[in-house]
């Protein structure tokens, strides 16, 4: 079951990494509230 554990861990690492990159880049991460925003800018 090593592949199972490594697979789950990899998914979490990729997800956290994506969060860090997008958050750091200043992208509006809350898409629900960004309906009336311009690209990457919170109004």
């Amino acid at each position: 079951m090593r592949a199972f554990l490594v697979g789950c861990l990899a998914a979490i690492v990729i997800a956290v990494g994506a969060y860090a990159v997008l958050n750091h880049s200043g992208y509006v991460i809350d898409s629900a509230s960004s309906v009336f925003t311009t690209k990457g800018t919170r109004l």
Binding site: V6, V16, Y19, S34, T37, L43
Partner: protein, 328 residues
């Protein structure tokens, strides 16, 4: 002098009369019919498909005041989509329970041989589980978006539900990345074995060994597994693409595109969940020996002969597999 006094008196009377008459005139019924205006608005909406104003915000989308397509989308989101999900998922669960009660677990007919062969290597299993783990969280958090408020708020209360829903949404957004990577890797990794072949038609005709007691020959993947593969690749691809359109709103599409993306994402996601329930069933309690393929990566030779005889012959021809099972 008397003439000028008479003139001033007459002018005053006229001014007074005008002052008295003007309000009375203003209170007369107007010629504008509000109902008729409403009719015009409806006609305009039908003709233009939207009503737009002008504003000072940089984002011109905020100037869109009304669009009939928005009502259709709301109806879909609040009524149609939950019905599709409920029928698809509960219907599939019902079928699987019924099938299990009638057929039970599909056993290895000749028992275990004690010899095993490698079915999936470490990398294949890693990709499968990375995708599966992401999918399960995506499915639960996605179902929460459609059904959570109605089903969980009475149990959890609004504040607890709001906290849970916020975390679920973050998980839904960011686990999309490992899921998408997994779908791409699955597509590349197994494409060579997932084109239709003649054996698939026979497999389908004979019920795939699932319905009835025949065990039609199959290659590495039988027709049922090929269906699952293409559901993952095409369905997973559809939910990924539409999901990113929603995650990064208005980068690629306009408002109508966002609504269409949501429609496709919702339908494809819910049907994807329903079909994956069947995959999970057959890979666990539905078939003896199936889970080992993704667990240890090795399957029993008799299991392979029963379900994938053409693949077993090919592996034997290559001199692979058929080694004693490890001692327990």
């Amino acid at each position: 002098m008397r003439a000028s006094v008479r003139f001033l008196f007459a002018a005053s009377i006229l001014w007074l009369a005008a002052a008295l008459v003007a309000p009375a005139y203003a209170q007369q019924p107007t010629t504008v019919n509000p109902t008729a205006e409403r009719v015009q608005e409806e006609q305009l909406l039908k003709a233009l498909k939207k009503a737009e104003g002008r504003g000072t915000l940089a984002d011109t989308k905020s100037q869109l005041l009304e669009q009939p397509a928005g009502r259709d989308w709301r109806q879909f989101q609040q009524v149609t989509l939950p019905w599709i999900g409920a029928i698809g998922i509960l219907g599939m669960l019902g079928l699987l329970v019924l099938f299990f009660l009638i057929r039970g677990m599909i056993r290895i007919e000749n028992g275990r041989s004690g010899r095993t062969l490698v079915r999936f290597n470490s990398f294949e299993r890693f990709v499968h589980w990375m995708t599966a783990f992401s999918f399960i969280i995506l499915a639960v958090s996605g179902l929460n978006i459609t059904f959570g408020r109605a089903l969980l708020t009475p149990l959890l209360g609004p504040e607890t539900f709001a906290t849970w829903a916020q975390w679920a949404k973050y998980a839904h957004n960011y686990l999309s990345f490992p899921f998408t990577i997994g779908v791409v890797l699955i597509f590349l990794m197994w494409i060579a074995w997932n084109f239709p072949s003649g054996a698939d038609f026979r497999w389908i005709r004979e019920g795939g060994g699932i319905i009835g007691n025949k065990h039609p020959p199959a290659r590495r993947f039988n027709a049922g597994q090929k269906v699952i593969y293409w559901v993952v690749v095409l369905g997973g691809g559809a939910v990924a693409v539409t999901g990113y359109l929603l995650f990064f709103p208005f980068y690629v599409t306009d408002m109508a595109g966002q609504q269409l993306a949501h429609l496709i994402h919702g339908i494809a996601g819910l049907l994807f969940i329903a079909i994956m329930l069947a995959h999970i069933y057959i890979g666990t309690i539905g078939m003896q020996g199936a889970f080992e393929a993704m667990g240890s990566g090795e399957v029993d030779e008799n299991w392979a002969r029963q379900h994938h005889s053409l693949w077993l012959e090919k592996q034997a021809g290559k001199g692979r597999g058929q080694r004693p099972a490890p001692a327990e």
